[in-house]
């Protein structure tokens, strides 16, 4: 199905099931512990062995010597493969550092051996017996020291006359903001079972967001035929971008399986996840804003730096600045500085979350300089067209309504207006807000539907990483075919199924449901043809044309009817800016003596097109808000700038928000639809939810204390020397 123009009124505008609240159809499996995650699939392959990785303990250099004799002789060991045993593996485009093979160490905790044994205890113990000697090389590990010496890359965009705008501005801002490197820290570590016992057919049971990409990456990495690889990932214990790519768990399990002649399962031990796998790069961002005396923005100048291994792209935080607010002139640049820290790559709202963390503090600062309400300042600078290209309108943008609705519901009028001016006992109270803007891309997405005696089975390689894919796909198919939700079974995450968008970049829900709808339309055509009907309706399990009604259960005479299709999104979308928008409002209490910050309440108002299931969409948004609180207050990978690794590489020292950190969270979805997005008029919300949150918290802390912190995370040490004197 080609989606080449904005859609008209269609069945989703009169939906019975889509857009309505439904509990997750995979819920019972998850709450009983019966949903099978990658490492625990005892049933899929007999005689599984256990792999354990050994990882490099230098950040840069080469391995001069490895001795695995003792490991090979240790109890229970079936095989050891060291990185010196094989040639460097090829690198898929998505991997910046090679995953295994050869003597070069490109980053700390890069995998250098895998030990395969009968049990985890044996494999782990044997891995510790491998002797490794290195020739260490000096690396570069300190972004904060590097960025000022760095010649910035050419601007990604330079429109209008930025320099003149700053010269003529009534009010300007020029500040530097820093975001910390962050870990996805999904609860299920990277894990795979691989059966490559005969070195021929490779079967992979893994935890991965993108089935087709990862299958291709495996083919490239091992230089084998794509057709020999089968991959399953029906349940993913969190991804957040960390499982978009092929990673070392799968590669090591594959190598271990081939060496031992048995299926091998391997999970990255948690302390290895942080430096072996990917993370979101920290950023340093210089932001300048110019405005006239009335508060109209005339220019943005946003120059950012992040780190990457050579050949990677870092964390580009400047793109939101290009289109969020009006203003005739703007220049943005991002420089990914090549450094030797572990591999930086995508994490939830890659770029957007970091950029808005800076931009939305800057907007707060500008409003204050102008003597304006931060909500009013944003409303004044709203735009309905791409400010870099006024001929390119936003397809559907209701940011102003988000701001207005949020202000009204939060009680913004009653907020503290004097920074540091509201106190309850030992707590300083403040309110802050921030805006959010995240693009709404779509990707071609396929599905197959099987009509079996009136029940429908949907197959697509789409994944459910907690996002609710199982449920919204069932809703879509039930809606399209006139079935009850219970009559639809959804099968996901399997390379035997049609290639979907996969889960990433906030494109999954909108794209995959559109693909399922396309397949259902194909099935409808086939049924109509079979019954000799012209454009029948599909309602309540019946196929209806004129006065003729046939039950779906009876259209195929006991056979199975199968249809498959892919939705292709046309380039008409390039003439539009298609995005999602939100306003976040936060209240915090900061302890006047210790600087401890407690978030007291949070509100998000979101404009994200048709919400396919308000239950799962709301969970996505509160999840983003929670991760945003982490980004604001506690999350930060701390590099050892001498030895080149992240020091806090476990879940006790890399702190994420816990129950006690999270207050009441309210989410309001504006009743909007975006006909340019998909046939369902839907857009994503999973990344929108984290965008802007950290800045809203930072602005609330400023409002509470009068202390402007521009470096995340805002831990108490950044506040304590400026807090009121203890009498």
């Amino acid at each position: 199905m080609d989606f080449n123009q904005s859609t008209d009124d269609n069945l989703f505008d009169h939906a019975r099931i889509v857009g309505k609240p439904h509990a997750r159809i995979d819920g019972a499996l998850k709450v009983t512990g019966q949903a099978p995650y990658a490492y625990e699939r005892h049933d899929v392959a007999a005689h599984q062995l256990v792999g354990y990785p050994l990882c490099a303990t230098i950040a840069k250099g080469r391995i001069t010597h490895m001795d695995a004799t003792a490991a090979r002789a240790a109890p229970g060991v079936a095989a050891v493969v060291t990185t010196l045993d094989i040639e460097p593996l090829a690198q898929a485009k998505s991997n910046v550092a090679r995953l295994f093979g050869g003597d070069t160490v490109a980053h700390y905790h890069q995998a250098i051996a895998v030990v395969v044994a009968d049990t985890l205890e044996q494999a782990r113990s044997a891995a510790a017996l491998i002797e490794v000697r290195y020739q260490e090389e000096q690396g570069v590990f300190d972004l904060d020291a590097a960025w000022e010496q760095q010649t910035p890359d050419e601007p990604l965009s330079d429109v209008g006359d930025v320099d003149a705008a700053f010269k003529n501005a009534a009010v300007t801002l020029d500040e530097v903001y820093r975001t910390a490197s962050q870990s996805h820290a999904m609860m299920e570590p990277h894990a795979s079972i691989v059966d490559w016992s005969d070195g021929g057919q490779m079967t992979v049971w893994t935890s991965n967001q993108m089935i087709a990409w990862t299958r291709k990456a495996l083919a490239k990495t091992f230089a084998i035929d794509l057709e020999t690889i089968r991959l399953e990932s029906p349940y993913v214990g969190g991804g957040f971008g960390g499982k978009l790519w092929l990673r070392a768990d799968t590669v090591l399990a594959a190598l271990g399986s081939r060496a031992a002649g048995r299926p091998v399962k391997l999970a990255l031990p948690r302390p290895l996840v942080f430096n072996n796998a990917t993370h979101r790069s920290g950023t340093v961002q210089r932001l300048r804003i110019a405005a006239d005396a009335e508060g109209r923005i005339t220019a943005f100048d946003h120059s950012a730096f992040s780190h990457t291994l050579p050949g990677g792209s870092g964390e580009n935080p400047v793109n939101q600045t290009r289109a969020f607010y009006a203003g005739a002139s703007r220049r943005v640049a991002h420089t990914a500085i090549e450094m030797d820290l572990p591999e930086s790559a995508d994490m939830r709202a890659p770029g957007e979350a970091s950029g808005l963390a800076a931009l939305e503090i800057a907007m707060d600062e500008m409003a204050e300089k102008l003597g304006m309400d931060p909500v009013e300042f944003r409303i004044l600078n709203d735009t309905q067209v791409d400010p870099e290209d006024p001929n390119k309108p936003f397809s559907d943008r209701h940011y102003v309504e988000c701001l207005q609705k949020g202000a009204a519901d939060f009680g913004w009028e009653a907020r503290n207006r004097t920074p540091g001016g509201q106190r309850e006992g030992q707590w300083l109270i403040g309110q802050g807000m921030a805006g959010a803007y995240r693009g709404a891309p779509t990707m071609d997405s396929g599905a197959r539907v099987r009509l079996q005696a009136g029940r429908l089975v949907v197959e697509t390689d789409m994944t459910d990483i907690g996002t609710g894919s199982y449920t919204i796909i069932a809703q879509t198919a039930a809606e399209a075919m006139g079935l009850a939700l219970e009559d639809v079974e959804v099968r996901l995450g399997n390379s035997d199924y049609p290639v979907s968008s996969g889960s990433g970049g906030q494109f999954g829900a909108a794209s995959a449901t559109a693909g399922v709808y396309a397949a259902c339309l194909k099935l409808q055509e086939e049924i109509a043809q079979r019954l000799g009907m012209n454009s029948p309706r599909f309602e309540q399990g019946m196929v209806i044309a004129g006065t003729t009604e046939v039950a779906l259960a009876e259209v195929a005479d006991g056979e199975e009817l199968v249809a498959e299709d892919t939705i292709h999104f046309g380039d008409f979308k390039d003439t539009l800016q298609i995005g999602t928008f939100a306003a976040h409002f936060v209240e915090v209490a900061v302890h006047a003596h210790t600087g401890e910050t407690r978030v007291r309440r949070m509100l998000a108002v979101c404009d994200a097109g048709r919400i396919l299931n308000p239950v799962t969409a709301r969970s996505q948004v509160i999840g983003g808000m929670t991760m945003g609180v982490g980004a604001a207050l506690m999350e930060g990978l701390i590099p050892d700038v001498e030895r080149g690794f992240f020091v806090n590489h476990d879940l006790a020292s890399y702190e994420v928000a816990v129950h006690a950190d999270i207050p009441e969270q309210e989410v309001i979805f504006l009743d909007t639809t975006d006909a340019a997005s998909t046939p369902l008029k839907a857009k994503g919300v999973g990344e929108l939810g984290i965008c802007g949150v950290a800045a809203a918290v930072a602005n609330a802390i400023y409002n509470a204390t009068g202390i402007r912190v521009r470096d995340y995370p805002i831990t108490l040490d950044r506040l304590i020397d400026q807090l009121p004197k203890v009498s």
Partner: protein, 188 residues
């Protein structure tokens, strides 16, 4: 390359064997006598030897709570304890809490309140949640209990504090609180 064909053969050929012990555990009401490598955690015993994979391994270091189970009526992190330390102990895992066909009230409340997303931390959250209500009922104080002499009330703050050893990276905390509160009210 020429790997021995069976675990038994490899064990026989190994230069030294690993110390093993026999332990009897009562798991979800069923008695299991197992001979285990002494280094085997309770979590790996459940997941690898009894194929009870509902208890999850998120960190293996007592930092995430995904492996929370009940041992003799008290919740613990199953990754932080060795199986051989539990001779005769009664262990309840998520598989013993309820089944797909017969969900426990806490499991039902988690589904009804969408108190999870990816589902990986969920069995641990549910085992902890049931234990939290028992601990409050037993008047066991927490960090946020203001008056140690009074009867402890089930408040948002008490639940949040006591659940804070169970991480949820998907960020379902607000919904988990609702689920636990709902069950507490049903029981009251």
């Amino acid at each position: 390359m020429n790997a021995p064909n069976s675990a038994e053969q490899r064990r026989d050929q190994a230069p030294q064997d690993v110390p093993r012990s026999t332990v009897t555990l009562i798991v979800n009401g069923t008695q299991h006598t197992l001979t285990l490598d002494n280094r085997t955690t309770l979590l790996d015993t459940l997941r690898e030897h009894l194929a009870l994979t509902g208890s999850k391994k998120g960190c293996d270091h007592g930092q995430c709570g995904a492996c929370t189970v009940s041992v003799n009526g008290e919740r613990i992190n199953a990754c932080l304890t060795l199986a051989v330390m539990h001779e005769g102990d009664e262990i309840t895992t998520i598989e013993g809490v309820g089944t797909v066909e017969h969900l426990d009230p806490m499991q039902q409340a988690f589904v009804a309140n969408d108190a999870f997303q990816c589902g990986y931390c969920t069995p641990g959250q549910i085992c902890s949640a049931n234990a939290v209500l028992q601990e409050i009922a037993a008047n066991i104080p927490s960090h946020v209990t203001a008056d140690l002499t009074a009867t402890i009330e089930i408040t948002d703050a008490e639940i949040r504090e006591r659940m804070s050893g169970n991480l949820c990276r998907c960020g379902a905390y607000a919904n988990i609180l609702k689920a636990i509160t709902q069950v507490a009210k049903e029981r009251a």
